[in-house]
């Protein structure tokens, strides 16, 4: 837009691809616009469905530009700068949050099998102590060990899930 093309031209350029879901959204906007729907109406439809605040702000700026002819280039530059700062912060926070992940996974992955392995051989180790104290059934112990190991894997997956949920999307 800084080189002089209009908003519609810029939307068309982005709708050609390469910008992820924004490209597909803009493609739908242009298709519907060519069918006779208003550009503002279409951008509002996309804005309603958008989940990201930054994307909503971008669409709002575009709508305001069409309605009130505001200085869109300057506003978009400011928005871009702000989002860039946020992205840098997000990446740094992500790296920091994942710094203890190997140790956490190893701790859980190590403690649980050690305890469960000892538990599994307890009935054999204490076979002679059956007269003094009641010993658990070997099948029941086997079920506990298998269940415990399964639970450990699930726990590891849950801990590792934060690598996915907190991804900065870079």
């Amino acid at each position: 837009m800084g080189s002089g093309i209009g908003l519609e031209g810029a939307i068309t350029s982005i709708s050609r691809g390469g910008y992820g879901c924004i490209s597909s959204d803009f493609q739908k906007v242009m298709v519907n616009t060519r069918k006779g729907k208003g550009l503002v109406e279409e951008l509002r439809r996309v804005q309603k469905r958008a989940k990201s605040d930054a994307y909503k702000r971008l669409l709002n700026t575009m709508i305001e530009n069409i309605i009130s002819n505001t200085d869109i280039v300057k506003t978009l530059k400011n928005q871009g700068g702000r989002e860039e700062e946020k992205r840098t912060e997000k990446v740094e926070k992500y790296i920091e949050e994942l710094s203890g992940l190997p140790e956490t996974l190893l701790s859980i992955g190590m403690i649980s099998p050690i305890i469960l392995a000892i538990l599994a051989i307890t009935p054999q180790m204490m076979a002679g102590a059956g007269d003094i104290m009641p010993l658990p059934d070997a099948d029941a112990v086997g079920s506990i060990v298998n269940g415990g190991l399964f639970f450990t894997v699930v726990m590891m997956a849950m801990i590792g899930l934060k690598a996915h949920t907190k991804d900065p999307g870079l």
């Binding site: 054999q124 180790m125 190991l149 894997v153 590891m156 690598a163």
Partner: protein, 242 residues
């Protein structure tokens, strides 16, 4: 020793299956690694190329001349592709050659820049300023991508080695030392449960490591081989201890 290894494997069809699937999966795992290395090499060169183009255009040259100058000064893949672009532009239009260059790089980052350049050129926009601003922006972006890669790569490798190799070796040592079969312990069921546990834990570890680096899909190919490695370390570790 090798025959014994195969004999043990023969008794564990799951491990045998994972080994075969894992070895076949290497064929799928290597191309994305090679492709990524190539693409990141091009993307890391992009800010320098854009700055060079900006300087040349600032010195009064046209875009085509600027590309020629930059391509001559570079001996890397970027320079080679730019030289090919100039050759293509001799038999077709310059815009078509640029589009062909963007396609060949297979990088979204470069394709966006080329799209921007074509639009700017069509509209007689100040290309030098656009190129210079783009070079700064892409330098920042690449620094961030590289920072993520460098900082998390060590941790991703650590997770895989800890969970897939270190942990099974340690547990095999403990179980083998304190509950050897030679002392009358019936540990077949425990060992079977542990082997499956380490396989699953290794799969989770590889997937988490891949996700940390933003390459979960590429790492999927490596999961069977690491699962096998983890199971084998436990199984053979235990046999070696007893």
């Amino acid at each position: 020793m090798i025959f014994y290894f195969f004999e043990v494997l023969n008794d564990h069809p799951l491990m045998l299956l994972l080994l075969n699937v894992g070895l076949a999966g290497l064929g799928g795992a290597l191309p994305p690694i090679i492709e990524r290395t190539r693409r990141r090499g091009l993307e890391n060169s992009l800010p320098e190329v854009l700055e060079g183009l900006s300087d040349s255009i600032g010195a009064g040259q046209g875009l085509q001349q600027a590309i020629m100058k930059v391509s001559e000064s570079r001996s890397d893949l970027f320079g080679k592709l730019l030289r090919e672009t100039l050759d293509v532009s001799a038999v077709t239009s310059f815009d078509a050659a640029l589009a062909d260059f963007a396609m060949k790089t297979r990088s979204k980052q470069i394709q966006r820049v080329i799209n921007l350049l074509s639009t700017a050129e069509e509209n007689d926009a100040p290309i030098q300023e656009i190129l210079f601003r783009s070079s700064l922006e892409y330098e920042k972006l690449n620094d961030l991508v590289n920072k993520r890669e460098n900082d998390l790569m060590g941790q991703a490798i650590l997770i895989i080695l800890f969970i897939s190799v270190g942990l099974p070796a340690l547990i095999a040592f403990i179980v083998g030392l304190f509950a050897p079969e030679s002392s009358g312990y019936a540990v077949d069921e425990v060992n079977s449960a542990m082997v499956h546990f380490f396989g699953a834990a290794s799969g989770v570890a590889v997937l988490v490591s891949g996700r940390m680096l933003g390459r979960a899909k590429d790492y999927l190919w490596l999961i069977p081989l690491w699962m096998f490695a983890s199971m084998a370390v436990y199984k053979f570790g235990y046999i070696m201890i007893i």
